[in-house]
C-alpha cells in the first residue's frame, strides 16, 4: 500500500472534498524558486527572485537573447534620428494588460520614468533626458541631450531592475514605495489572493497574451505558455526540496545544492543540468577607506596570496564542472571577456611576497574586521576561507559571523572598523550582470558614489566612459581590456572565482532552457 492507496481510501470517506482533476494537475507546473518572493515590485525590490517572478507578469519593450543582444519584444519597431538624439518607439498592436485594458504609449512613458529612477542605465538616460512623451496611443519618443548608443540594451537587459511596462496609474507610484497592484501584460497573471509570502506564489496563464512569431530565445521571441498554472512553492530547506523533487511533489527545483546533485542523479525520473551558463562571480569586497586596505599594496597582497580554487571548492565541492579560475572581472564565455592584467591571480600563490607587501603597506597587526553572512552558504564559505588566508598572512582577524540583515546594514557604515565599520565583506554577482559595466555596480570606482568599499580609481572610470562611447565591438573590447587591467592593478575588489549552479527537474518536464532566469514559457509537462 502506498500513499495514493491510503489517500484513495480516505478520499472515499464522507469527509473528503473532491480531489483535483488529473489533467488539471498535469497542466500545473510546480516550481521551487531560489528564494522567497517576499515582495513583488520589480523596481522597488531588486532581488533576483523578484526579477524572476516579474518576467512572468510584466513584459518589456525589448528583451535580450542568449547572445545578450536586445531584440524587439513589445516594441514593433524603433527609429533613431541621424544625430542619435531622438528615439521613437512604436508598440505592437493587440498588447493588453491583465485587466484587459490596452497597453498604451503613456503606460510605457510612465513605466520608464519610474524605472529610470532606480536603474544604473536608467539614471544615465535620465541625466541625458530632454523629453519623454507619448506621440499617440502606440508611439512614444525619448529626446536626449547627447547620444546614448546602449538605449536598446538598457530597455531589454535582464539585469535587475528591468524596464518592465506597467499600467500608467501603477507606474505613478514613487519608485521608493511598493506598488500594490500587480497587473502587467506578460504571459502570466499573478494570482494575488493565492499569494502567501514566504510559502507560495501562483501565476495563471494569461489568455490575452499575444506572443511574437519568432521562436523564444531568453527574453526575446515568442513567449508561448504551454501550461495553465505555475505554482511557486518556497522551500527553505534544501533537503526537503530534494525529497519533494524525488517524490514527485514538485516538478522543477531552480537551484539545488551541488552536494545534493549526486542523490538527485541516482533517481531515474530526475534530470539535472547547469542552470545559467553565465554563472556567478564571487566577490571579496575590500574597504578602500581605512587601513590596511586603503593602501593598494595591502590589496595587492591579497590577490597574490589568495587561491581561487580554495574559494570555489568551498562553494561547489569537488565538482570541477562547476567552477573555473577567473583572472579578471568579466563573465567567461561572453564577448567582452578578458584576462588582461590577470597574471597576479595566476600561477603559484606567493604568501611570502604578500607578507612583504603588507609590511610595506604599514600593516601593524591592527584587527581586520571580516563580515560574513552565515545564513548565505556562499558568503559563509568565502568568509571561512578568507579568515584562514589572513591568519596565514599573519593578520589579526576579527571574524564577524552574523546574518545577511546585519551585514547589509554594517557594510554601509563608512566609519573606521573599530567604530562599527568593516574591512572585508563578501558577495557574488550573477554573471549576466558582469558581461559589461552597464549593470555591474561592483566594477565601478567612483569613490563616495561607488558600491560598498568605495573604490576611487579614475583610471578605471575612464575606461568605463570609453566603453559607453564605444562605436563598435572592437572599441568595446579595447575599453574592457583597459578596465580589467586598471581594476586589477588598483584592486577594485578581489574576485574569488567563477562558479555555476545546477537546476533539476522531473523527466516529464520539457522545454527548460539554460538561462539566467528560469523562464516558464516554452516549458511543458506530460
Amino acid at each position: 500500500m502506498n500513499r495514493r492507496d491510503v489517500l484513495a481510501l480516505g478520499a472515499a470517506s464522507a469527509f473528503s472534498a473532491p480531489a483535483l482533476a488529473q489533467n488539471a494537475a498535469a497542466r500545473t507546473l510546480r516550481f521551487v524558486p531560489q528564494a522567497n518572493l517576499a515582495n513583488f515590485d520589480p523596481i522597488w525590490g531588486t532581488q533576483y527572485v523578484v526579477r524572476n517572478a516579474s518576467v512572468n507578469v510584466w513584459d518589456t519593450l525589448y528583451g535580450v537573447d542568449s547572445d545578450l543582444m536586445p531584440q524587439r519584444q513589445m516594441a514593433e519597431g524603433e527609429e533613431v534620428s541621424s544625430d542619435g538624439l531622438t528615439w521613437t518607439f512604436k508598440l505592437r498592436s493587440g498588447l493588453k494588460f491583465h485587466d484587459n485594458e490596452p497597453v498604451l504609449a503613456k503606460d510605457c512613458v510612465q513605466s520608464l520614468k519610474r524605472w529610470m529612477a532606480r536603474d544604473t542605465m536608467g539614471l544615465m538616460i535620465r541625466d541625458l533626458l530632454v523629453d519623454i512623451s507619448a506621440v499617440d496611443d502606440r508611439t512614444f519618443k525619448i529626446v536626449l541631450r547627447s547620444p546614448y548608443p546602449k538605449m536598446l540594451y538598457a530597455l531589454g537587459k535582464n539585469n535587475s531592475p528591468m524596464a518592465f511596462i506597467m499600467p500608467e496609474r501603477i507606474a505613478r507610484t514613487d519608485p521608493f514605495q511598493q506598488i500594490s497592484e500587480y497587473i502587467g501584460s506578460g504571459p502570466f497573471r499573478f494570482v494575488r489572493n493565492e499569494w502567501v509570502p514566504g510559502a507560495k506564489a501562483v501565476f495563471q496563464k494569461f489568455d490575452g497574451y499575444v506572443p511574437r512569431d519568432e521562436p523564444a530565445n531568453w527574453l526575446a521571441g515568442g513567449k508561448r505558455v504551454l501550461i495553465d498554472r505555475l505554482e511557486w512553492t518556497v522551500m527553505p530547506d534544501p533537503a526537503t526540496a530534494a525529497a519533494a523533487l524525488q517524490s514527485g511533489e514538485v516538478d522543477w527545483w531552480e537551484n539545488p545544492l551541488s552536494d545534493l546533485i549526486p542523490v538527485l542523479r541516482r533517481n531515474r525520473n530526475i534530470r539535472t543540468d547547469i542552470a545559467d551558463p553565465l554563472g556567478n562571480i564571487g566577490t571579496m569586497r575590500l574597504n578602500h577607506l581605512h587601513p590596511p586596505f586603503n593602501d593598494v599594496r595591502a590589496r595587492r597582497a591579497l590577490l597574490m596570496a589568495m587561491s581561487q580554487e580554495d574559494y570555489m571548492r568551498a562553494v561547489v565541492g569537488s565538482d570541477d564542472n562547476l567552477w573555473k579560475a577567473l583572472p579578471g572581472f568579466f563573465t567567461p564565455g561572453t564577448s567582452l571577456y578578458t584576462e588582461e592584467g590577470g597574471e597576479v591571480l595566476k600561477g603559484p600563490r606567493d604568501l611570502e611576497g604578500a607578507k612583504r607587501l603588507l609590511r610595506e603597506a604599514g600593516y601593524t597587526n591592527q584587527p581586520v574586521v571580516v563580515l560574513a553572512a552565515q545564513d548565505q552558504p556562499i558568503t559563509k564559505a568565502f568568509g571561512d576561507v578568507t579568515a584562514d588566508l589572513l591568519k596565514r598572512l599573519g593578520m589579526n582577524v576579527d571574524f564577524v559571523a552574523t546574518d545577511w540583515g546585519t551585514v547589509g546594514q554594517r557594510r554601509a557604515v563608512k566609519a573606521p572598523p573599530a567604530q562599527g565599520g568593516w574591512n572585508i565583506f563578501f558577495s557574488w554577482h550573477a554573471g549576466a550582470d558582469c558581461t559589461n559595466p552597464a549593470a555591474y555596480q561592483a566594477i565601478r570606482a567612483t569613490g563616495d558614489g561607488a558600491w560598498f568599499g568605495w573604490p576611487n580609481i579614475p583610471e578605471a572610470e575612464a575606461k568605463v566612459a570609453e566603453w559607453y562611447a564605444a562605436p563598435n565591438l572592437d572599441a568595446e573590447k579595447a575599453a574592457i581590456r583597459g578596465l580589467n587591467r586598471a581594476s586589477l592593478e588598483h584592486v577594485t575588489y578581489a574576485p574569488t572565482g567563477f562558479f555555476l549552479g545546477y537546476t533539476a527537474w522531473r523527466s516529464n518536464i520539457s522545454g527548460i532552457v539554460k538561462a539566467p532566469v528560469p523562464f516558464a514559457w516554452g516549458v511543458s509537462k506530460s
Binding site: 500500500m1 515590485d41 509570502p197 522551500m235 527553505p236 525529497a243 517524490s247 545577511w404 554601509a412
Partner: protein, 313 residues
Amino acid sequence: MWAYIVRRVVATIPVMAIVALFVFSLLYLAPGDPAAVIAGDQATPEDVERIRASLGLDRPFLVRFGEWAFRIVQGDLGVSIFTNLPVVTMIKQRVEPTLSLMVVTLCLALSIAIPMGVIAAWKQGTTIDRIVMGVAVLGFSVPVFVVGYLLAYTFALELDWLPVQGYTPLSEGIPYWLENLILPAVALGGVYIALIARITRASMLEVLSQDYVRTARAKGAGQTSILFVHALKNAAVPIVTVVGIGFAGLIGGAVVTESVFAIPGLGRLTVDAILRRDYPVIQGVVLLFSFVYVIVNLAIDILYTVFDPRIRY
C-alpha cells in the same frame, strides 16, 4: 471562579504591554537593516538610505513606538515592510497550518505519552518501564530536525505512504489535511511525548503509593479502573502543568518543524521576518504568541480545579 477568570484576562493587558515594549526595544537595539535587505545586494548606499527614509526607519525611537502602540491599541498590527500586506492578513494566512500542527501534535502526544507513563509506573522496575523510559530519553535527545528527516526519508521517500512536505487546508478534506500533518506531528511531538511520559510516570508512582489506592484495590477495583480512574485523575495536576509549560516548547519546535516540512505556518513566518528585519511582522507574531501562551496558562489554571476540586481561586 468567573471573577478569577476576568481578573486573569484583565491581567494579560499589562503583560502584553510589557511584552510589546520589550519586543519593540529589542528590535530597535538589534543590528540589521530592512532597507538594506529590501534594496538587494547590488543597491547603492543612496538607494538604501532612500528606502530607509520612505519606511520611516530614520525617525526617533519614541515617535516610532508611539505610533505603533497607538495602532496596536486600535487592533491594527501594521503593514509588513516587505510584502506591503497587513500583518493581520499575513497571520491569518499562517494560523491554520500552525494551529493544525499544534492540535495534532498535542492529541498525538497525550494519547501516546499518558498511557506510556501510566504503564511505566504500573510496571515500575520491569523491562517495560525501562523501555518506556529509554524511549523517553531518546525523545529528549534527538533533535526535531533529525527525527523529521528520518521520518520523511522512511515514510515519504522509501515507503511512499505520506508526502514529504506541504500543507493541505482542512477544507479540502480530513484525509488530505491529516496526511500532511502526521510526519511533522510525530517529529515535533517526540520531545513532548518524552516530557509528558516522564512526568506522568513520576506523578503516578507517587499516587499509586497512597492509601486510597490501596483501599480501592482492597475493595476489588480492577487494575484499569485503579490506574485510569482513581490514580490518573489525582496525578493529573503536575501532568497538566507540564503540558502547559511544554506548549512554549511546542511553539519553538514548530519553527524548525515547519521549515523541515515546508509548512507555511507562523513559525516560518517568524523566522523569515527575523532574517529580513520585518519589524511589524516580528512584533505582531511575538505579541500573538505571548497572548496565546498567557491564555494557555490560564486554561491550565482553570483545569486544576477540574482535577482537584480542593483548589479554589
